[in-house]
């Protein structure tokens, strides 16, 4: 007997910094991957919520036991609080597209969730565990594959997905990527934040700067190469808001990520069958929030000159490219297959 309940397909990009969801009812949402529980009775009374998620959590962080439950794109292993935080995050994302926790059994949710390219089986099992009870059927895919699927770049292309926690590389050969086709680097957006914080602290030791401030500055003014506009920010120096020029520090932090990225890109390219290398070189796609560093695309093209040149396309709307790709997979998968995947 077939199940007549309504089916909602969703694609979820569970990111270290931001998580997004795209649903078959046309809704798309993105939230900051933060979850916080009020620290005490006073905080609970002020905040009037048992748990805060996303920007809400970040802005009230002083009153919260704040968790960023994903590290390098994966659920932090072994920490019950972080597992609970991921569950809250997922439920919140689902609620944003209309799935109500209290109406379990109302809508059948078929979800595709992206994880870093080199995620271990045990990490994928954690995702399955976190989503159990929230969705009826689940498919876990590598993030760059979801991007490639959504962008119709499944043959002779290279996806470089620069996230906050990891940079994922994937060569698409018209087959499901194997380990040899993929790489994951720990140098990504968070790494740049750490470097930038270090450089700013060295240059302006009197300034009082937090990692959250640095992250916001990077999102506004990251660049590689030359820039005509200086990166000016405001931070308290001895308690007084002061304008600081961090142009050089920003360049230094952002360019620090280039050597490992270029090395991995060229290494993966060298492993592509010689007949197809030129086609792959001319079809490099850069996605992810960190991919929006100004000047990154042209700089990678410059590096490709060493092996005969190539073209790099930077995805303009990186926020939803992963979740949109996941949704495309969810919609294309036959219903019979979703039944095989139901838990």
């Amino acid at each position: 007997m077939s199940d007549k309940r309504e089916v909602l397909h969703v694609g979820i990009d569970l990111g270290t910094s931001r998580s997004s969801i795209s649903a078959s009812n046309g809704q798309r949402h993105v939230i900051e991957s933060y979850v916080g529980w009020p620290l005490d009775m006073v905080a609970r009374k002020v905040l009037k919520k048992p748990v805060l998620i996303g920007r809400d959590a970040l802005e009230n962080r002083t009153m919260l036991d704040l968790h960023r439950p994903l590290e390098q794109g994966l659920i932090k292993e072994g920490s019950e609080k972080d597992e609970a935080a991921v569950r809250e995050l997922l439920w919140h994302l689902l609620s944003l597209v209309g799935v109500k926790r209290e109406e379990r059994g109302g809508t059948r949710v078929h979800a595709v969730v992206g994880v870093p390219a080199e995620a271990l089986r045990v990490n994928k099992q954690h995702v399955r565990k976190a989503l159990s009870g929230a969705v009826e059927s689940l498919m876990i895919v590598s993030e760059p594959f979801a991007v490639a699927y959504g962008m119709e770049a499944l043959v002779h292309s290279m996806i470089i997905d620069l996230g906050a926690g990891t940079t994922d590389f994937c060569v698409m050969n018209g087959r499901l990527p194997t380990e040899e086709d993929q790489r994951t680097l720990p140098q990504a957006g968070d790494w740049i934040d750490d470097q930038l914080l270090r450089h700013v602290n060295t240059r302006h030791p009197q300034a009082s700067v937090s990692i959250h401030m640095v992250r916001a500055w990077k999102e506004e003014g990251s660049f590689v190469g030359q820039t005509k506009t200086p990166v000016l920010v405001t931070a308290p120096v001895n308690g007084k808001p002061t304008e600081l020029d961090i142009t050089n520090e920003m360049r230094q932090a952002c360019e620090g990520i280039l050597p490992p990225i270029v090395e991995s890109m060229l290494d993966l390219l060298s492993k592509v069958q010689p007949d197809y290398q030129e086609r792959v070189r001319n079809n490099v796609v850069v996605s992810g929030g960190t991919g929006l560093i100004r000047g990154l695309g042209p700089r990678l093209e410059q590096e490709l000159q060493a092996v005969g040149g190539g073209k790099v396309r930077v995805v303009k709307d990186p926020v939803f490219v992963g979740s949109d790709g996941g949704l495309a997979i969810a919609l294309d998968a036959p219903e019979d297959d979703w039944e095989r995947l139901s838990s």
Binding site: L120, R121, K124, Y149, R175, E180, T184, R340, L341
Partner: protein, 336 residues
């Protein structure tokens, strides 16, 4: 948004593969890429060829013989023939952990791995003590003690040479060692700490242990893809449980024996941490931090050959107890 109808053949094929991979994950089966399928098939065909050829020959002989010999009597009517029990469901590669007690294999050959070596000094202090020298000395002592007990021993390095972590594991595997004991000397930022601790392979959230593992994992000689394959296997591996037992036995022996000569020694316990050298082996493996070079009093003791002998004896006693436990005899029984 409606379901898409015009799915290209390429996408259909990719989706089929993706679903198959996810069904394996859901059912907790190893992915096909990690199963030795093609190799196994080739091996199976070879074995079949070897078995079938004589069997066919034998069969034809029996066919001739059967023309002369009456067939065995049929069971009398009404007597039930017991049904052959159904074969167990052995989905190849199912990664459910097997309990170590199911495979009580004896310990004959012990691989001893003196940590660091060559250009890699490990921990060292201005007074001239270097981890690489201390580990080699203790390892040589341990090898002699175990040999005297009838164990065969294999040292991953016999002199002051640099070996990658992968080479260390490969050597132990080539020599078909039954257990692997990697010997290290600790360096702890809190220099007042002095103690012994023993590791087996696993993941950890402790930032100190992760830093320690990262320090010891330098120059592993493994790519990330290789590492991923290795890690995927270990989670379904019987070795993890055996390694935990070995670590626990050795740690207990180290702490209790050494405490007699070093009463302020701390029991820093048995811990799981992602040391690559433990991942590269094919047998139960542990990494023992037998002392703390960062502590001045410990360093003084380590400089004395007698204390290094005590450490080696404590390690040997731990290995012996584990071997006895695996063989199913208690140390007391063996000694009597």
């Amino acid at each position: 948004m409606p379901k898409r109808k015009d799915v290209s053949p390429l996408k259909r094929r990719l989706l089929r593969e993706l679903v198959r991979e996810n069904v394996d994950l859901k059912d907790n089966r190893l992915p096909r890429s990690l199963r030795p399928g093609a190799h196994r098939l080739r091996t199976t065909l070879r074995v079949l060829a070897l078995v079938l050829f004589p069997a066919v020959l034998l069969g034809s002989t029996q066919l001739i013989t059967s023309l002369q010999t009456p067939p065995p009597p049929a069971p009398p009517a009404g007597v039930a023939v017991p049904a052959r029990p159904a074969p167990p469901d052995r989905r190849f590669g199912a990664p459910e952990p097997i309990h170590a007690d199911v495979l009580p294999l004896a310990v004959h050959r012990v691989a001893i791995d003196p940590g660091h070596g060559g250009t890699d000094f490990g921990a060292h202090i201005p007074q001239g003590l270097r981890e690489k020298d201390l580990t080699l000395d203790i390892s040589n002592r341990l090898a002699r003690l175990l040999a005297a007990d009838g164990f065969e021993t294999v040292l991953t390095r016999k002199g002051d040479q640099h070996l990658s972590l992968a080479e260390r594991g490969a050597r132990a595997s080539q020599e078909r060692a039954d257990v692997f004991v990697s010997i290290h000397v600790n360096w702890i930022e809190d220099r007042g700490s002095r103690g012994v601790e023993t590791y087996y392979l696993g993941s950890t959230l402790d930032p100190f242990l992760n830093r320690l593992a990262a320090e010891e994992n330098r120059g592993s000689g493994y790519s990330m893809a290789e590492m991923r394959r290795l890690l995927d296997r270990i989670y379904a591996d019987v070795r993890q449980e055996s390694s935990r037992k070995l670590a626990s036995t050795v740690q207990s022996s180290l702490y209790h024996s050494l405490r007699e000569v070093n009463p302020v020694l701390e029991d820093r316990g048995v811990k799981a941490a992602p040391f690559i050298v433990l991942l590269t082996t094919e047998m139960p493996a542990i990494l023992a931090e037998v002392s703390c070079l960062s502590n001045d009093q410990e360093a003084e003791m380590l400089a004395k050959p007698l204390y290094r002998q005590f450490i080696a004896e404590a390690l040997a006693a731990g290995v012996r107890s584990y071997a006895d436990a695996v063989a199913g005899t208690s140390p007391a029984e063996k000694g009597s």
